[in-house]
């Protein structure tokens, strides 16, 4: 069951991720990204992290990607702005090199990752991944990060405002 | 406390100068001179109160500085450092006078000079490795500025070269210092960088000693400078202003030899002993090479600079004779070199001020128009080639005597430097002072004026004083040197040999006992000479 869902989902995510990278239009990239994120949400569900899966949809696919799209529209980016990554011979060569490099890294990392012996999941309690469970952990063990995150967001907000303010004063 | 005062007096003088207005050059110069003279007189007072009979540190003061590291403000003078100390104040004074005519940024110049003085004095009094290193590096800064700002056309190149050369060497020394610091801490449980304590307690195996020795060696050898590390010297000397050259030759180079005496020998006696041949050959090469290269120089200052390489070769040779003759000779030769080379630089400065050139070929026949100058130059030059009766000889002879005890061949090779010295100095002297006064530019040159005489005459007096009656100088370091020699004696770490030594003299020299002598004699018994008997 898990197998059946996982591999297609994984394939879907990878393809869409590649789509993000190799799409000529930024809008297309953004759409691919949204797709990929939704796919990931599926994987989270598969991993029984429901809370995170929801957050993934809401925050990432919802908020963040909307912001992306918004900026793309704001800057009025068209297809021609970034003429794609294979436009010159030099780039082709470099791209192949990069691709080879990437596959190399992946191979190496895979080598490392496959050395992990944790193949069977632990027997999970029912509460695993639920909002209640996560919430409790968040407000007891990780209360400090939680609070600190607010400072982070505040700072980011101030920063974004400072930078994106319209008038220079 | 007094010693601290004397050491830092120039520094405070410099601080005071900072607040003088730039325009009042007269006041600035007078203040600087007053400070320098006062400092010299105070250091003389130190000398007169110095107890010759002991090797112990005197006027010492030991207060905690960085307590958490066990680093103390520990200062003191012993016989080895006393004269260098006094010479530093003396040459500072001379240099302030010699710089009287400097027009460019006189205030900054005097400040640099006085700060430099404190830096140098600090090197000689520091009895804490850390403190030593602090002063050792610190004095680079004012010297760098002096060469770089008031120097000749290639001053920037020369000053950077000077700075980097010295710095590279001393940084490795820093590593060694750190190593020693922790080693001492480990072995004795005392966290200290106190030189005296380390001298007494440092005990490292030979292999390590060699490494540490090399680290110290590099720092000091560059400073001295020994043969392959000498190339900064000609450049720095040539580009430095007159007073800078004097200080450089008179004091800065001595810091290297001082370092060998203060650190390399007492800390690593065995390694020092092992490295004697290397040092000896480097020194000999330095002596001969310096002399040969000096011979063909076209620039007066460069010639004197290369002669310094040669002279310092003698000093090094003396130090590594590891016997009292050599070391005492080296110490007095240190002073001598400061005096005679200092005088030569001052004198070269005199013609440079008038002609703005130092090329030998530009001169000739100066003896005719500048008799006073010629006499002074002659005396300084002869002292530099070690004419007996002048200071150079006393040092050179003792050094050679010392090294002869160790190895006759070395002594012979080194002595050949004496011949070459005569060649380059006399040849130069001839081309500058003698011959016809051909160059029309030279005709109007004035003889030395009062101020210039004041700078040179004390040095001339010292040349003869040390040459004829060096006792007041030499007795100051007698006790210290004997102590040092007993410390580095190979007997301390070499298994005693049975047939070693009923001969009456020389403690570590390669003694020839009557037995050995006899066998030697016999082995090379002269063949019956056919001519001897008909």
């Amino acid at each position: 069951m898990e197998l059946l869902i996982f591999y297609p989902l994984a394939g879907f995510c990878v393809v869409l991720a590649l789509g993000v990278v190799f799409n000529n239009s930024p809008v297309g990239s953004a759409i691919s990204l949204i797709g990929m994120m939704l796919g990931l949400a599926g994987i989270f569900v598969l991993l029984q992290a429901h809370f995170i899966a929801i957050l993934q949809v809401i925050i990432y696919a919802g908020a963040i990607m909307v912001l992306f799209m918004f900026v793309i529209m704001l800057l009025n980016l068209k297809k021609g702005d970034d003429t794609g990554w294979i436009s010159r011979d030099k780039n082709l060569f470099l791209s192949i090199l990069t691709g080879a490099l990437a596959i190399g890294i992946l191979y190496k990392i895979g080598d490392i990752l496959f050395s992990t012996k944790m193949d069977s999941p632990a027997t999970l309690p029912d509460t695993f991944g639920t909002v209640a469970n996560i919430g409790e952990t968040l407000f007891t063990e990780f209360v400090l990060p939680f609070e600190v995150a607010s400072i982070l967001l505040l700072a980011a907000m101030v920063g974004a405002v400072v930078l994106a303010k319209n008038k220079l004063d | 406390m007094f010693l601290t005062f004397v050491t830092f007096l120039p520094f405070f003088g410099a601080l005071f100068l900072v607040f003088l207005p730039k325009e009042s050059t007269g006041t600035i110069k007078q203040t600087a001179l007053a400070v320098a003279v006062a400092d010299f007189l105070l250091s003389l007072y130190l000398w007169t109160n110095f107890d010759n009979t002991t090797h112990a540190m005197q006027f010492s003061m030991n207060i905690p500085w960085i307590e958490s590291w066990g680093i103390n403000y520990h200062i003191g003078l012993d016989g080895i450092s006393l004269l260098l100390y006094v010479m530093t104040t003396f040459l500072t004074m001379i240099c302030v006078i010699a710089s009287w005519e400097i027009k460019k940024h006189i205030r900054e110049y005097m400040i640099a000079m006085l700060v430099l003085s404190t830096g140098m004095l600090g090197v000689f009094i520091a009895l804490d490795l850390f403190m030593f290193y602090v002063f050792w590096e610190f004095q680079l800064i004012p010297m760098y500025i002096i060469v770089g700002v008031w120097g000749g056309p290639r001053r920037i190149y020369a000053s950077i070269k000077f700075f980097l050369f010295t710095a590279v060497g001393s940084l490795l020394m820093l590593v060694a210092i750190l190593w020693i610091y922790f080693h001492i801490q480990e072995t004795t449980g005392v966290a200290t960088a106190d030189i005296l304590y380390i001298t007494d307690n440092l005990d490292v195996p030979l292999g390590t000693q060699k490494w540490l020795w090399m680290a110290f060696f590099l720092a000091f050898a560059i400073k001295v400078p020994m043969f392959p590390f000498h190339t900064w010297l000609p450049d720095a000397h040539v580009e430095a202003p007159t007073a800078g050259s004097v200080i450089l030759a008179g004091v800065l180079l001595k810091m290297g030899t001082y370092g060998f005496l203060r650190f390399n020998l007492p800390f690593f006696p065995q390694a020092s002993y092992e490295f004697v041949p290397m040092i000896a050959w480097l020194s000999i090469i330095g002596i001969v090479y310096g002399a040969l290269v000096a011979m063909v120089q076209e620039d007066l200052k460069k010639l004197v600079a290369y002669s310094s390489v040669s002279h310092l070769g003698f000093v090094m040779l003396g130090i590594f004779a590891l016997n009292p003759y050599g070391i005492q000779g080296a110490l007095i030769q240190n002073i001598n070199h400061g005096i005679s080379t200092g005088a030569l630089f001052l004198l070269v400065g005199v013609v440079y001020d008038r002609r703005h050139t130092r090329l030998i070929s530009e001169f000739g026949g100066l003896a005719k128009i500048m008799p006073r100058y010629t006499v002074c130059f002659m005396i300084a030059a002869l002292s530099s080639i070690g004419l007996p009766g002048m200071n150079g000889f006393v040092g050179e002879f003792l050094v050679l005597l010392g090294i002869f005890q160790v190895n006759g061949l070395w002594a012979a090779c080194a002595t050949s430097g004496v011949i070459l010295a005569a060649c380059y100095i006399l040849w130069m002297f001839q081309r500058v002072m003698f011959l016809e006064l051909k160059n029309p530019k030279n005709i109007g040159m004035k003889d030395m004026n009062m101020r210039e005489m004041i700078t040179v005459v004390p040095l001339v007096i010292l040349i003869f004083w040390i040459g004829l009656y060096p006792k007041p100088f030499m007795q100051t370091f007698d006790a210290s040197v004997n102590h040092l020699v007993s410390k580095v004696s190979p007997d301390n770490f070499r298994p005693k040999k049975d047939n070693h030594g009923d001969s009456s003299h020389g403690e570590h020299a390669q003694l020839i006992t009557s037995n050995q002598m006899a066998s030697l004699n016999h082995k090379l018994q002269m063949p019956k000479n056919v001519l001897n008997k008909d």
Binding site: L101, G104, I105 | F165, T231, W232, Y289, L292, V293, M295, V296, P324, I327, Q328, G329, G365, A367, K368, P388, G389, F393, F397, L400, L401, F404, Q405, G408, A411, T415, V418, I419, A422, C423, L426, Q430, F434, L435, L437, L468, Y469, K471, D478, S503, S504, H505, G506, E507, A509, I512, S514, N515, M517, A518, N521, H522, M526, N529, L531, N532, D534
Partner: protein, 655 residues
């Protein structure tokens, strides 16, 4: 009590020198002359007083030492600034102060026209002072002060006319060549200290037979080194080339320094160290051989020179060769004897030549002289007397001393040494009379514009005195009657050497070392002084001298065309006239290569090699720096790429 005055002897000229040097220009020439001569004469008188004091010493005490102050020392090495008065010193002291005073007086006249009069006398006095230090020092180092001091003064005096390049070159050459000798001397001193632990003459000489093995390596090395030192100072092969050039100096200088005193310092030193030399038969042979060779060689060169002073210079070299020949065969008295007489007649000859030069306004070429006899009678007479003395005509002083040298070279040496001595004597007689004939006899070849005149009294008086001394000087050592040899008796305490006990010590030492001593018995066989042989030799040498004179007469009076005929186109003559090309040889083989090598060292090794390495390192860093900069391209993606590459590299390093 009088001996306490010893230290004043060198002090007077020193003070004179200082006064003249510093204030000479202000006080005027007369005062300078008075101070200079006065100090020398004062010093001479003091020497007389010291001599008297010495005579009053109790029986058995043959030396007096006066330590003025302790000069310097280190460890157990210490050297005093001390003087020693012993018979040898006294002899030398008298020569230096006596002849010195006379020449000073002469110089007042000779140098009178010079602007730098004061400078000359300052140097001159300084020289006298240094020379006195040399002969009076009680240890090797004090002697070395004098030794180098005289060299230095000689340098200044040769280069007195410093505007002349040849004079400067000659001065420098003299100094440097001397330094070569000094180098060896210094090594010898160090070696001596190494062996004896002291460098006091008396202690060293006393200990030498006990510490050194007869004929051993050590003593041979020491004495060889000392002898090299002596060859430098005394202008012997191979270091003689500076002396003829030194004639660039004013004539009084040549007379005092390069004839009478300084150049004989080497002989003095050898005699002073006679004990050491006697212990080394090999060195002795070398000394004698070098001395003999130099005597002959210099004499041959002397025959061919035309510069009056150069002839005398070569003659000096040759005569000093004699002295070394004497030393080499162990006849130290003869050496000193010849030294003394030589001082007299050679000083007289030089001063005479100076008088001639003075009289014809600076001309030194003998080919432009001739017939001066009538113009300068006093000069001629004194010159002739001295020439006879040097040629060895009895009963002038030179005859006795030279004869003694020849006698000993045969008896104590061998026939070869004697042969050398005799041939040198023959040549000496020849070239000296050639000189006399060319200068004073025959047709005048003087430039017509020049009117030769006799020198003033102040110059001729010294000539007369010296000629007188040259005449009677031989009385110091009358041959044949051994009890009558004043000089020998006088010097006996210094040159006394007990060979037998020295050999015994040596044997003992060798024995201790477990070695067998060679048989030395033949050395101890007494030598018999055969009166007959001595007389025969005297006659023979007189005959040789006369032959030489006759030859010169034939060549230069009777048949003035002969020399031309004989010498024309002869390569041998060219060789000799060009001084065997030794100067050129040295120049090509030593001086030039050294300078070239130095230039090479500087330009190639120092500037390009060592400094090149340093600058090269800096340049390399600079190069790297410039190229490393290009990595910093400003493109974000490049930066990211670098991070990834870094990541991969770290991963590879890790795994």
């Amino acid at each position: 009590m009088l001996l306490k005055l010893t230290c004043l002897i060198p002090l007077y000229p020193l003070i004179g020198s200082i006064i003249n040097g510093f204030f000479g220009l202000k006080i005027g020439k007369d005062a300078v002359a008075k101070i200079a001569c006065g100090s020398m004469i004062l010093s001479f008188l003091t020497a007389v007083l010291v001599f008297v004091g010495f005579l009053m010493l109790p029986e058995g005490q043959h030396a007096y030492e006066q330590v003025v102050w302790s000069w310097f020392g280190a460890g157990d090495f210490s050297v005093d600034f001390g003087f020693q008065v012993d018979p040898l010193t006294l002899v030398m002291m008298f020569v230096v102060t006596g002849v010195g005073s006379i020449i000073h007086v002469y110089a007042v006249g000779y140098m009178h026209e010079e602007y730098s009069f004061y400078r000359f006398f300052a140097y001159f006095n300084l020289f006298a002072s240094a020379m006195l230090l040399l002969v009076m020092g009680n240890n090797f180092l004090l002697m070395f002060i004098g030794w180098e001091g005289v060299g230095c003064c000689s340098y200044f005096l040769i280069g007195y006319y410093f505007e002349k390049k040849s004079a400067c070159d000659a001065g420098t050459k003299a100094f440097v060549v001397n330094r070569v000798g000094d180098f060896a001397f210094l090594l010898a001193v160090m070696y001596i200290f190494n062996i004896f632990g002291t460098i006091d003459f008396s202690e060293v000489m006393h200990a030498a037979p006990e510490k050194l093995i007869y004929g051993g390596e050590i003593v041979t090395i020491i004495t060889m080194l000392l002898f090299v030192g002596a060859t430098g100072k005394s202008a012997q092969i191979p270091l003689y080339t500076w002396l003829p050039d030194a004639m660039e100096g004013p004539t009084p200088v040549s007379a005092l320094i390069h004839a009478a005193t300084m150049v004989t310092a080497g002989v003095y030193m050898v005699v002073r160290c006679n004990v050491l030399f006697s212990l080394s038969p090999m060195t002795m042979t070398v000394v004698a051989f070098i001395g003999g060779t130099t005597a002959v060689m210099a004499a041959t060169i002397g025959m061919t020179q035309f510069d009056i002073k150069r002839v005398l210079a070569y003659s000096t070299v040759s005569q000093i060769g004699y002295m070394f020949l004497a030393c080499g065969v162990g006849a130290y008295t003869a050496a000193i004897f010849h030294l003394v007489t030589h001082a007299f007649f050679k000083a007289c000859l030089f001063l005479g030549s100076g008088s001639v030069i003075h009289g014809i306004h600076g001309e030194q070429d003998m080919r432009k002289m001739g017939g001066l006899k009538k113009h300068m009678p006093t000069t001629y007479k004194t010159f002739l007397v001295s020439t006879l003395a040097i040629a060895g005509i009895p009963p002038l002083s030179g005859f006795f001393s030279k004869d003694e040298v020849l006698y000993h070279s045969l008896i104590d040496g061998n026939i070869i040494f004697w042969g050398m001595g005799v041939s040198a004597a023959l040549l000496t007689a020849f070239y000296m009379f050639r000189l006399v004939f060319m200068t004073f006899h025959g047709e005048s070849r003087v430039d017509p514009s020049v009117h030769p005149h006799e020198s003033p009294k102040i110059m001729t008086m010294p000539l007369v005195i010296l000629a007188g001394l040259a005449t009677v000087g031989g009385m110091l050592g009358i041959p044949l009657m051994h009890g009558w040899h004043i000089l020998h008796n006088w010097l006996e305490p210094v040159i006394h050497f007990d060979l037998a006990s020295a050999l015994q010590h040596s044997e003992h030492m060798l024995h201790e070392a477990g070695q067998h001593a060679p048989s030395w018995t033949h050395l101890l066989e007494p030598k018999d002084h055969n009166l007959w042989i001595e007389s025969l030799l005297m006659l023979f040498s007189a005959a040789v001298a006369i032959t030489g004179i006759f030859g010169a007469y034939m060549f230069y009076i009777k048949r003035p065309d002969l020399p031309e005929k004989f010498t024309k186109g002869q390569w041998g003559f060219d060789l000799v006239q060009n001084k065997y090309y030794v100067d050129e040889l040295y120049d090509e083989s030593i001086v030039k290569p050294t300078v070239e090598a130095s230039k090479l060292l500087w330009k190639e090794c120092d500037a390009k090699g060592i400094d090149g390495a340093v600058n090269g390192a800096a340049k390399t860093i600079g190069w790297f720096s410039r190229h490393a900069q290009t990595l910093q391209s400003g493109f974000v993606r490049n930066y990211a790429l670098f991070m990834v590459v870094g990541f991969i590299s770290l991963l590879l390093v890790m795994f």
